[in-house]
């Protein structure tokens, strides 16, 4: 009976890790596929970290646009990150989370800007916030990334090879 109890108490977390690894990497692969597909389309809408409007752009209207996303780490990567916290160094487990979050936020910014009729965004700013797990470091690690900038309605599409 003790053996069974020990098996459950130790085996369950391990099983959870294995399940989390597979579901987590599935979700991540799917998200990356979606990000790459949408980035192809969204590239037509320039997003710039310039404060000023590039010379030659005829702006008809300008307004604040934002894109936000909150993404959580899967249980397996959280376990990795907790282990990494013990020894320090580069936290590989968090990199893809942040990469996805940031690209998703910029994509949403572009998509909402496009829907509002804007054809360019200038003065892009990115902010990241930790939205959960402030406690012991073993809680949920989730980040919010906010992308914001000024959407521009232009008289004609930005000059470029295809314009």
């Amino acid at each position: 009976m003790q053996g069974l109890g020990a098996l459950i108490q130790l085996g369950l977390p391990l099983l959870l890790l294995v399940v989390a690894y597979f579901t987590g990497s599935f979700v991540e692969r799917r998200h990356y596929a979606s990000i790459r597909r949408r980035e192809q389309r969204a590239r037509r809408l320039p997003v710039l970290a310039f404060r000023d409007v590039p010379p030659g752009w005829e702006v008809q209207e300008a307004a604040l646009v934002t894109g936000t996303v909150v993404i959580s780490l899967d249980h397996f990567k959280r376990f990795l990150a907790n282990l990494r916290n013990l020894v320090g160094g580069r936290v590989v487990a968090y990199e893809s989370l942040l990469d996805r979050a940031r690209r998703e936020a910029i994509l949403r910014l572009q998509e909402s800007a496009f829907e509002a009729g804007f054809r360019a965004v200038v003065n892009l700013r990115l902010e990241g916030f930790q939205v959960a797990g402030q406690g012991e470091g073993r809680g949920t690690a989730a980040v919010e990334v906010v992308a914001y900038g000024t959407g521009l309605r232009l008289a004609r599409a930005p000059g470029g090879p295809e314009a």
Binding site: R43, V47, R84, N85, V91, Y94, E127, G137
Partner: protein
């Protein structure tokens, strides 16, 4: 690769721009340095271990941003910004972004 935190590269003209490039890295504090930092917190002063750690991480983030800029054929990144965000207890993200451009 020219990096600036101004809108343009002084003395040179931007001829082409490619969009935003980003670089980031996440670092966890070292347990030993953490203890030292805890002691140092009592008396105040520079946390040398952390200065080095964050500087090294910021350099890596910048290098990653530059790698992105190179991949689009840029020779400068303008309006570079650095951001630090804490994503979990004990880990910090160092983040750099800017606009990849080609200058004359």
């Amino acid at each position: 690769m020219i990096l600036t935190n101004t809108e343009n590269v002084p003395g040179r003209k931007i001829v082409e721009f490619f969009g935003v490039v980003t670089g980031s890295t996440v670092r966890a504090k070292h347990i030993g340095k953490d203890i030292l930092a805890g002691l140092k917190n009592i008396v105040g002063g520079e946390l040398k271990g952390y200065t080095e750690l964050l500087q090294e991480a910021r350099t890596e983030a910048t290098e990653r941003m530059v790698a992105q800029a190179k991949s689009v054929g840029a020779n400068a990144v303008v309006n570079v910004r650095f951001a630090t965000s804490s994503i979990a207890a004990g880990a910090a993200e160092l983040f750099a972004y800017g606009t990849a451009v080609r200058v004359e």
